[in-house]
Amino acid sequence: MSEPRIMWRKAVNNVMLTLTGVAAFGVVCVLFLILGYLIYNGGHSLNLNFFTQLPKPVGETGGGMANAIVGSLKLLLLAAVMGLPVGLLAGIYLAEFGGKTFSFIVRYVTDLLNGVPSIVIGIFAYALVVLPVKHFSALAGGVALGIMVIPITVRSTEEFLRGVPNSMREAAMALGASKWKTIATVVLPAASGGILTGMLLALARVAGETAPLLFTAFGNRYWGQGWGQPIASLPVMIYTYAISPYDDWHRQAWAAGLVLLMLVLLSNLGARFILARSKAV
C-alpha cells in the first residue's frame, strides 16, 4: 500500500473525527448561549414588581406579570389533575396487565398522540370545550395541556414499572398477595421515584407550551375570574410582549422568558436529582 494513500486516510480520519467533536460542542454551546442571553437581558428587567404587580396599560412603563405566573400555575394544576391519573393508570396497564396486540396498539397510539403538533391539540380543545360554550376559558387551556401530559406520563410510567425486577413481584405473590395488592404495595413504591420524575418532566414540558393556549385559555390582563373565564399564562405573555412594538414590553418579555426557562430547567434538574437518589437507595 502506498504511503500517500495511508497519509490521506489518516488525515480524513482526523479531520472528520475533529468535526464530530466540534459539532457536539457547538450544540452544547447553544444551550449556554440561550442561558447567557436570557440571564443578561432578563436579569436587567427582573424585579419585585414583576412578581407582584399586574400588567400596566399600554404606554405606561413598569408593572409585572403576577397574574400570568398564577395563571400558569393554575393551568398546570388543571393539566396535572386531568392528565396524570390517566397517564399513570394506562402506564400500569401496559406494564402489568396488558396483553400483546392491544398493548401494542395503545403504545403506538400513545406515541402518535405524543407527536401531534401542540397547535392541533389546541384546535381539539377549542372544538371540545370552547365551541359549545362560545367563550375562552382556563378549563379549555387545562384540557389542552392535560391531553399533552398523558402520553409522556404513560411511557415513563411503563418504562419504570418494567424496571422493577420480577423477583419482587413473585415474592409478593408467593406471600399470598393478589396481583393488584402486589402492584399497589410492592411494584409502585419501588418505581415511585422514576414515575414521579416522569410526571415532573411531563409538567415541565407543557409549562412552556404556548400554541395550544392561544385560543383556549386565551389571555387576560387582569386576575382571572374563575375556571370558566380566560386566563393569562407566562408563555402567551412572552409571545404577545415579544411581538409588540413597545420597548418596555420587550424588556418584560425577556424577564418572563428568564423566569419560564429557570422554571423549566430547574424542574428538569430536580427530576434528575429525584431519579438519581431513588436509584441510589
Binding site: V12, V30, G87, V116, I238, V264
Partner: protein
Amino acid sequence: MSAASTTITHEVPPKSGLRAFVDRLKGGDEIAHLITLIAAAGIILITSLLVLELWRTSYLSRSKFGWMFFWTKVWDANFDNFGAATFIYGTLVTSAVALAIAVPLGLASAIFLSELAPRRLSDIISFLIDLLAAVPSVIYGLLGIFIVVPLMRTTLGPALKHVLGFTPLFSGPNYGVGFLTAGIVLAIMVVPFIISVSREVLLSVPREQREAALAMGATRWESTWQVVVPWARTGIMGSVFLALARALGETMAVTMVIGNNPQISASLFAPGYTIASVIANEFTEATGDLYLSALIELGLVLFLMTFILNGLARLLIVATERGGGRPA
C-alpha cells in the same frame, strides 16, 4: 389468590361502604384490571375523538373547496376564498432548511457521543442536550426575534448573498425575517431529537462490528462511516423523520421569525407563512364559519402530515431495534 383476598375481607368486618369498597379494590384484580384498561382505552378514544373533531369541524371548508384547497394560493377572508398552497409551501421549505442544517450537525454529534467520547463525557453532553430539548419554543422565538433576525439582517444574510448570491435561493431583498431564519431556528430546535435518538441507535450497534472493521485495518472514521452508520441507518432515518414531524408542527418560534406573509418565493430570504403560524395568528380573529373551518382544515392537513411521519418513524426505529441491532 382470590381465596386469600376473600379471607382478608372476611376477617375485617365492613365498617362502612367506603371501607368495604377500598378492601374490594385492594383485593380485586379484576377491578384494577378494568380501571387501568379503561385508562388505556381512553388514550385511543381521545386520539380518535381528535381526528373526528378535526374532520367534523372542517366540514364547511372541505365541502366547499374540495381538493382545490391544496392548490389554491389565494387566502382571502373578505371574499371567503381559502387555499392552503402558500402555507404548505412555507411549512415544507422551512422544514427542509431545518433538516439540511440539523441532520449533518445532529449525526456528527451523535457519532462523537457514541463512538469517540468517553462514557462520562458522553453522558454529561447528552444531559445538556436533553436540557436544550426542554427549552420552550416561545423562548426560541424570543431569541429568534431579538438575536437571529438582526444577525441575519446585518451579518449572515449579506455574507450568504455575497458568496451564494448567484443562485435564486439566496437572491432578492433580505429583511431578516423569512424562510431561512425560520429554518435556522427550527434546526436548533430539532437537533437535540436527532442527536438523542441517533446516539441510542448507534450505541446499540454490536461491538464486534467495529472490532471487525478495525481489525481489517480501517481507520476509526472508516469503521464508523462505512460499518457502524450503515448498520444503524434505519434507526437514524427514524430519528430524522421524528425531527421532521416536529419541525412541521412547530408553531411559536416559526411564527415569530418567518414574517407571516403568504407567498411562494424561490428566495430563502423572502418572508413566508406556515400552516402552524397561520392557525396561531388568525384563529382567534376568524370571523365567519367558513374562515374558521378553513383554518381547522389546515390543522387537519398538519395533523395528517405529522401523523404519517411519526407512524413511519416509529416503525423504522422498532425495525432497527428488532432487526439484529441489539447485541446477542
